[in-house]
């Protein structure tokens, strides 16, 4: 029952926040504490070997809505709590309308519901709710560029969900159930993959891919994540995008999706990183970077071995932490200097508070995969588990590309005294930064001891240092040759066309795989 209680509490509190304006921030904090306790109880139940699942309405699993928690969904709970805490701390001084907290409750409620959902149609409803909440959050400040970015997001996401619903229709017609566990039993019992499953799964994947930050499908993302206010960008990039990946993971357990997910992962990783390297606007670069980092997660869930899934999970949580930190610190830096482009920020770097610079530095180190920090753990597990040389090469290229794109920020990190920043912001950086620094010991909770010892030896250590050095060298060379990449693909019409092309690509890949 607890599984249902967590999202329900958030939805009820969303209503309460509308009615009771003065206490919204306190209610938000209390609800996060409540989540923490309930998730703790769930962890305890799972560790005790109890199955945590509930089916509503007495209709049985074929027709009823099932909510269930497993290790995979609970790993994301700490990320939700940390990002939630950091966002509240970051905006402690800011006067926000209660409507903001209503949306935040809706967002967290639907994130938890999506983590526990086990039903294709339930996933559809929750993803739409997530779309609406994040659409309103992107446009919260009602600047024209925000409104346009969020409108594009809404149109593309709605198109994606329409395509997803077609897939649901086909699945229900052929199997008579929408429960993921039962579906996977049906498909594995039929031996060969049936024809309808190819079409249905490519429709479902296309629909979800629009929401999960994959390059060909989520071309709304750079504009939306770069224009939203910093706290919201942190939430969207750190958390909401990952929810699409969670759904893709669940689909990959039912349908044979190895090949398409690996190819999409490579495409989004490499194209995203190329755009990130040649983008000199700080927040936009972070947004492109989100597209490329989704590539890691997709490669991991595409291969699907146990160590790869663990690596994807760790990278998802790690990426949530450091991308959240980077977006928060970048927002503060932009606010302090009044410039958004990286050269402009560097020119006025003495105006950036020291804490903000430290936050940016820690985030950059994390994302580059410098050893004891969060990025290193996920990357190491992913490249250890990769079974083919091609995938290892792609992973290594992605690491180098990350270093190249973040090398632009290095001149910001001169240790000089700047203006002091308020405690609330420092608290926000600490909430996200400390778990990142302590990530390596924390991963022992999730991995068997031998695997942990085996994974984090000297070789990955040297490998990541090699990637950093290579990246820095290539950055020195590349910055002499700036390149203008096509921007038209991010227009609404072009983005829709590219989604269409992407659908055919996925269809062919599912068919081949």
């Amino acid at each position: 029952m607890i599984v249902a209680l967590i999202p329900l509490c958030h939805f009820l509190l969303a209503g309460l926040s509308l009615a009771w304006e003065r206490g919204t921030r306190g209610v938000m904090l209390l609800s996060l504490l409540l989540d923490a306790t309930l998730v703790g109880v769930l962890f305890g139940q799972l560790a005790g070997g109890q199955a945590v699942s509930v089916v509503f309405g007495g209709w049985g699993r074929e027709l009823g809505i099932e909510l269930a928690a497993d290790r995979f969904s609970l790993v994301f709970a700490p990320l939700v709590l940390l990002l939630g805490g950091a966002v509240i701390a970051y905006q402690w001084r800011k006067r926000l309308r209660p409507y903001f907290y209503v949306l935040l409750h809706l967002l967290f409620g639907s994130v938890f519901a999506l983590l526990f959902a086990r039903d294709l149609f339930n996933i559809y409803v929750i993803m739409e709710l997530l779309t609406l909440a994040s659409f309103l959050l992107v446009g919260y400040e009602k600047r024209a560029d925000q409104i346009w970015a969020s409108l594009k997001y809404l149109i593309l996401a709605s198109l994606g969900m329409g395509v997803y619903l077609l897939g649901v229709a086909i699945v229900y017609y052929h199997t008579g159930t929408l429960n993921l566990d039962l579906l996977s039993a049906v498909i594995s019992s039929s031996g060969d993959v049936p024809q309808w499953a190819v079409l249905a799964s490519s429709l479902l994947v296309t629909g979800v891919a629009v929401k999960s930050g994959i390059f060909m499908f989520s071309l709304w993302l750079p504009a939306a994540h770069a224009t939203a206010s910093p706290a919201i960008s942190a939430l969207l990039s750190g958390l909401v995008i990952k929810m699409g990946v969670v759904v893709l993971f669940r689909l990959a357990l039912v349908f044979p999706l190895s090949l398409p997910l690996e190819v999409l992962g490579a495409v989004t990783g490499l194209l995203g990183i190329i755009y990130a390297i040649y983008t000199y606007d700080l927040k936009k670069m972070l947004a492109f970077h989100t597209l490329s980092q989704i590539g890691y997660l997709m490669l991991g869930i595409g291969i699907g071995s146990e160590i790869e899934i663990a690596g994807s999970l760790e990278y998802a949580v790690g990426h949530g932490l450091f991308k959240g930190l980077l977006f928060l610190a970048a927002g503060a830096a932009v606010q302090a200097t009044g410039r958004e482009d990286i050269p402009g920020l560097i020119a006025r770097r003495s105006r950036i508070p020291l804490a903000t610079r430290v936050g940016l530095l820690v985030g950059t180190m994390g994302i580059m995969g410098i050893p004891p920090l969060a990025g290193f753990c996920g990357k190491t597990l992913l490249s250890n588990g990769a079974d083919s040389v091609a995938i290892q090469m792609i992973l290594f290229l992605l690491s180098i590309g990350t270093v190249i794109s973040f090398a632009k920020l290095i001149p910001l990190f001169r240790l000089e005294r700047g203006p002091s920043s308020p405690w609330s912001k420092m608290g926000a950086y600490a909430i996200l930064g400390l778990p990142m620094v302590l990530f390596l010991p924390l991963t022992r909770l999730f991995l068997p001891v031998e695997l942990w010892r085996e994974s984090f030896g000297t070789i990955p250590f040297l490998e990541s240092l090699l990637a950093v050095i290579a990246g820095l060298l290539i950055h020195r060379f590349l910055r002499k040759y700036p390149l203008r990449l096509p921007k038209r693909i991010f227009y609404l019409e072009e983005a829709i066309l590219i989604i269409l092309v992407g659908f055919f690509l996925v269809f062919v890949l599912v068919w081949l795989g």
């Binding site: 409803v125 024209a144 409108l151 149109i155 198109l159 229709a169 227009y491 609404l492 019409e493 269409l500």
Partner: protein, 119 residues
């Protein structure tokens, strides 16, 4: 004419909606096309699971007649409501844009906003 059924109509409508989304530059018409597209998926979900000769799934006492599967129709209700919410919110945002730029042409909006960003 047995070949014309709900599913073919739904596919045609989906194509028209998609075409409208891509080639029409007017935002309001784009939203209408989006509504058409989402409506067609709903039609597809209902008619794919329909039962020729079936009775509406309202139980009137014990009987052995063939009832249509009620689940898709229940699902569709949720989808219709969601699409309505999306359309309403999108129109509010279009209103905000029109107030500011006095146009619903997507290309012009892209250019105007890009110009403001670079300046």
């Amino acid at each position: 004419m047995t070949s014309i059924n709900g599913v073919t109509i739904a596919i045609v409508l989906f194509g028209i909606g998609l075409l409208g989304l891509i080639i029409r530059r007017d935002l309001v018409i784009k939203l209408l096309a989006l509504g058409l597209l989402n409506g067609s998926t709903i039609l597809c979900l209902v008619s794919l699971n329909s039962l020729p000769g079936g009775v509406p799934p309202i139980v009137r006492g014990p009987s052995t007649v063939l009832y249509v599967d009620p689940l898709p129709q229940a699902l569709v209700l949720a989808a219709i409501v969601i699409n309505f919410a999306i359309l309403a919110l999108a129109l509010v945002f279009v209103m905000l844009l029109v107030e500011r730029y006095h146009t619903t042409d997507t290309q012009r909006l892209e250019h105007e906003i890009e110009r403001e960003e670079t300046s």
